[in-house]
C-alpha cells in the first residue's frame, strides 16, 4: 500500500474518532509543547544574555576590575566574605597606572554608582533613581549613543562640571513634552544641566536599562555615590576596553601585574581584586542554562514515554477492533509488511499530528510567556523540526508491537471476527 494511502487512512481514523484521538495524542502533544517552550525560553535567554546582557551591560573586548566579583553563583563563605571586605578599594590612581602600561587605543572608564538618589525637576515631582559618576571613555565603552544633545565632554569630566546625561525614561519622566537639553535637574539637592539624552536601551529580564543619570566623577555626584570605606579617590569599577579581541588577554595580564605590584602582593599571595570579562560574567548563566536544558530534555522525555505508552495501547485496541478489516485486507493480498506499514503509518501519523499540535501550543505558550513575564523567548526553528520529528519517531516506536501483532494475524481467523 502506498504511503499516501496509509496516511489518508490514518487521518480518516483521527477524524472519525476525534475525542479518542485527542486523549491518545495528549502525551505526545504535551511532550512536544514542553520541548518547544523550554527550548525557546532557553534560546531567548541565551540571546538576551549573550547579545543584550554583554552588549549593554559590559561591552565587547572589555574587562572590568573590581574589589570583588559583582555576580556570584553559589554561596560565599563567611571567611571569603571577610577577606573581600578587607581588600583595598580600586582608585583613580590605579586607573591612571593601568592605562599608562596598556597599548595606545585602549579605552578606560572609572565609575561609582548609587541607587535611590532623590531627583526632581521643574516639571515632575521627585523620584529616586540610579546615578552613575563616571570618568574616562564611559560612553564609548558602553556603546551608549546619545539620541538628543551630546555626551559629557572630556573637559566636563576633567573639571567635574555640573552636567548630566539622562536615560531615556528619566528624560521622559522629568521633562514631559519639553526638550530636556539645556534645562536644569536637581540631584540630591544640587542643580545640574542636562546636556544629552541617551538612546533607548531597552530591558534585560524586565528591568529597564533606561532609568539612570550619568554625571562626571569629579562633580558633587561623587559624594552621592560615596560608600563606607571610600577615600576621596576610590571608584567602584574600572572598565578597560582593548582595541581588538586578540589584545585583550595580554592587556588583562598587564593589568593584573600592575594591580599586584601596586598592592605589593608577594608571588605566593592570591589576587586581592577581581577581574571579569563578559565571558566570566556569563559563567553563571551557562550553569543555569545547563539546568534548564536538562529540564528541557527531561520534561518532554517523560511526557513522550507516557505518550508512547498511550499510543501503543490505543493501537493495540485498534488492532483488536479492526481484526476483521485486517483479515479482509490479508485475504485480498496484503502481505505482512503491508499490514505492518499500515499500522506503523497510522501510529506515526497520529503521533505526528499530536506533535504538530504540541508545536503550535508550544509556540503560543512561548509567546504568551514572553509577553506576560520578564522571561524572554525566541522560538528556535530547529526545535520545531525536532518536535515534529520526535512525534513521528515516537509514533513509529509505539506502533511496532501493535503493528507486528496485526501483521501476524491469520487471515481466516481474522476475517471471521466481526
Amino acid at each position: 500500500m502506498p504511503l499516501s494511502e496509509a496516511i489518508r487512512l490514518a487521518l480518516q481514523q483521527i477524524r472519525v474518532q476525534k475525542l479518542k484521538s485527542f486523549f491518545t495524542l495528549l502525551g505526545v502533544t504535551i511532550g512536544v509543547m514542553f520541548l518547544i517552550t523550554v527550548v525557546s525560553i532557553v534560546e531567548g535567554m541565551s540571546k538576551y544574555m549573550e547579545e543584550d546582557f554583554v552588549g549593554k551591560l559590559m561591552g565587547i573586548n572589555t574587562f572590568e576590575v573590581r574589589r570583588f566579583p559583582s555576580i556570584n553563583i553559589g554561596n560565599t563563605t563567611d571567611e571569603q566574605w571577610r577577606e573581600w571586605t578587607r581588600r583595598p578599594f580600586i582608585s583613580e590612581s590605579d586607573a591612571r597606572a593601568i592605562s599608562a602600561v596598556l597599548p595606545p587605543g585602549t579605552l578606560w572608564a572609572a565609575n561609582t554608582f548609587a541607587t535611590d538618589v532623590p531627583i526632581e525637576s521643574e516639571y515632575a515631582k521627585q523620584r529616586k533613581l540610579m546615578v552613575f559618576a563616571v570618568d574616562g571613555d564611559y560612553f564609548e565603552i558602553k556603546k551608549m549613543e546619545i539620541a538628543n544633545g551630546r555626551p559629557l565632554a572630556s573637559q566636563e569630566m576633567a573639571t567635574g562640571a555640573l552636567s548630566v546625561v539622562l536615560g531615556e525614561e528619566v528624560a521622559r519622566h522629568f521633562f514631559p513634552n519639553v526638550d530636556p537639553v539645556g534645562r536644569a535637574i536637581t540631584i540630591a539637592g544640587t542643580r545640574y544641566t542636562v546636556v544629552g539624552v541617551a538612546e533607548k536601551q531597552g530591558s534585560v529580564f524586565g528591568f529597564s536599562l533606561d532609568k539612570f543619570v550619568v554625571g562626571p566623577l569629579h562633580s558633587p555626584l561623587r559624594r552621592v555615590t560615596h560608600r563606607p570605606g571610600f577615600t576621596s579617590t576610590s571608584v567602584g569599577t574600572l572598565a578597560i576596553q582593548s582595541p581588538t579581541a586578540a589584545m585583550m588577554s595580554e592587556s588583562m595580564e598587564q593589568t593584573r601585574a600592575t594591580m599586584r605590584s601596586r598592592h605589593k602582593l608577594r608571588p605566593a599571595q592570591a589576587d586581592d581584586f577581581d577581574m571579569s570579562t563578559s565571558k566570566s560574567a556569563l559563567a553563571f548563566w551557562d550553569k543555569i542554562k545547563g539546568y534548564m536544558q536538562l529540564a528541557g530534555v527531561a520534561l518532554p522525555a517523560i511526557s513522550l514515554v507516557v505518550g508512547a505508552m498511550i499510543i501503543m495501547n490505543i493501537m493495540l485496541v485498534a488492532v483488536a477492533e479492526r481484526t476483521h478489516e485486517i483479515g479482509i485486507r490479508k485475504a485480498l493480498g496484503a502481505r505482512r509488511r503491508d499490514i505492518m506499514n499500515q499500522f506503523l503509518t497510522e501510529s506515526a501519523t497520529l503521533s505526528t499530528v499530536g506533535a504538530g499540535i504540541g508545536v503550535a501550543i508550544g509556540i503560543a505558550a512561548s509567546k504568551i510567556i514572553a509577553a506576560t513575564s520578564p522571561l524572554p523567548a525566541a522560538i528556535a526553528p530547529w526545535s520545531i523540526a525536532a518536535g515534529v520529528l520526535t512525534g513521528t519517531v515516537v509514533g513509529i516506536i509505539a506502533g511496532i508491537y501493535p503493528a507486528s501483532r496485526a501483521a501476524r494475524l491469520d487471515p481466516i481467523l481474522a476475517i471471521r471476527q466481526e
Binding site: 500500500m1 502506498p2 494511502e5 480518516q12 472519525v16 476483521h324 478489516e325 483479515g327 479482509i328 485486507r329 490479508k330 485475504a331 485480498l332 493480498g333 496484503a334 502481505r335 505482512r336 509488511r337 503491508d338 487471515p411 481466516i412 476475517i415 466481526e418
Partner: protein, 264 residues
C-alpha cells in the same frame, strides 16, 4: 437421486491420471487446480479434528464447479486451501502449475492477490469504504497506480451493473448489491479462479437468483468458477458437482450425468 452413491465414478481418466501422478510432478497447463492427498487437521487442544482427509481434485480452466456436502464436511476448509488462505497439513496443491502448498505467508498473499478472487457468504466489505474503494483494494496491494486502479475498479463494477452505486458505502447497499460489489472486487485483478463459499447463504431467494445469474454469466464468459452451495437448484447451474463427506470426496459428477440423475 442419490448423488453420494456415485463415488468419484464420473471423474475422467485424465483427472485420475493427473491427481495420481507422483508427488512433485508438475501438472500440464490445462489444469488450473490439482490437489493430491490434501489433508487439513485442526488441533483442538489435544483433540485432532480432521477437516480434510485426503482430497484429490483436478479442475481445468473455464470449468464451473459446485462443491456440495453436509455441514461440517470440509467444504469451507477446502475452499480456504484452494484460495490460499490456509495451508494443508499434508498433500500437494498445484495452482496454475505452481506448487503453492509449500509457499510462505507473503508468497501466498501474492498468489491470493494475483490468482484468486474470493467471494464470501458474509460479503466481507470494508464498512467505511465506498463500493469503488472496496473494489480497488486488491489493486492497491498489487501496486497499481491510483488512476488505473480507479478505472479498473469502475470497469469491474460495470460488469456487475453497479457503476451507479460506486460512491455508496456497504450500509447504503442491499444484500444483493453488497455481494455484487464483492464479486466485482474478486474480479478486478482478473484472477485465474473465482471462488465463492455459499455466496447466496445470506440472501433471500429472489436475490440469490440474481447473484447466481451473475456467476453464470461470468462462467459463460470463460471465468473458472468454484462455488460452495448446499442447494441443489443452485448447484444445477454448474457443469460439475463435487460432493464432500467427512473430509473426503464422496462423488464428482459432470453436468449431463447430474441432470440425468435429477431427472431420473
Amino acid at each position: 437421486m442419490n448423488i453420494d452413491a456415485h463415488e468419484s465414478a464420473l471423474s475422467t481418466t485424465a483427472e485420475r491420471q493427473v491427481v495420481t501422478m507422483d508427488a512433485g510432478a508438475t501438472p500440464s497447463e490445462d489444469w488450473v487446480i490439482v490437489t493430491r492427498g490434501i489433508r487439513r487437521d485442526y488441533d483442538m487442544g489435544g483433540e485432532i479434528v480432521h477437516a480434510l482427509r485426503g482430497v484429490d481434485v483436478a479442475i481445468k480452466r473455464n470449468e464451473y464447479v459446485a462443491i456440495m456436502g453436509p455441514s461440517g464436511s470440509g467444504k469451507s476448509t477446502l475452499m480456504n486451501v484452494i484460495g490460499c488462505l490456509d495451508t494443508p497439513t499434508a498433500g500437494e496443491y498445484w495452482l496454475n502449475g505452481m506448487l503453492v502448498s509449500s509457499k510462505d505467508d507473503d508468497e501466498l498473499a501474492r498468489v491470493r492477490n494475483r490468482e484468486i478472487g474470493f467471494v464470501f457468504q458474509t460479503f466481507n466489505l470494508l464498512p467505511r469504504a465506498t463500493a469503488l474503494h472496496n473494489v480497488e483494494l486488491p489493486l492497491v496491494y498489487a501496486g497499481v497506480p491510483s488512476a488505473e486502479r480507479k478505472q479498473r475498479a469502475m470497469q469491474a463494477l460495470e460488469r456487475v451493473q453497479l457503476a451507479d452505486r460506486m460512491d455508496h458505502r456497504p450500509n447504503e447497499l442491499s444484500g444483493g448489491q453488497r455481494q455484487r460489489v464483492a464479486i466485482a472486487r474478486a474480479l478486478v485483478n482478473t484472477p485465474a479462479i473465482l471462488l465463492a463459499d455459499e455466496p447466496t447463504g445470506n440472501l433471500d431467494s429472489g436475490t440469490s437468483q440474481e447473484i447466481m445469474r451473475v456467476f453464470e454469466g461470468l462462467a459463460e464468459q470463460g471465468q473458472t468458477v468454484i462455488m460452495v452451495t448446499h442447494e441443489a437448484d443452485i448447484a444445477a447451474h454448474a457443469r460439475r458437482v463435487v460432493v464432500l463427506r467427512d473430509g473426503r470426496i464422496a462423488s464428482d459428477t459432470r453436468r449431463e450425468a447430474f441432470a440425468a440423475q435429477i431427472a431420473g
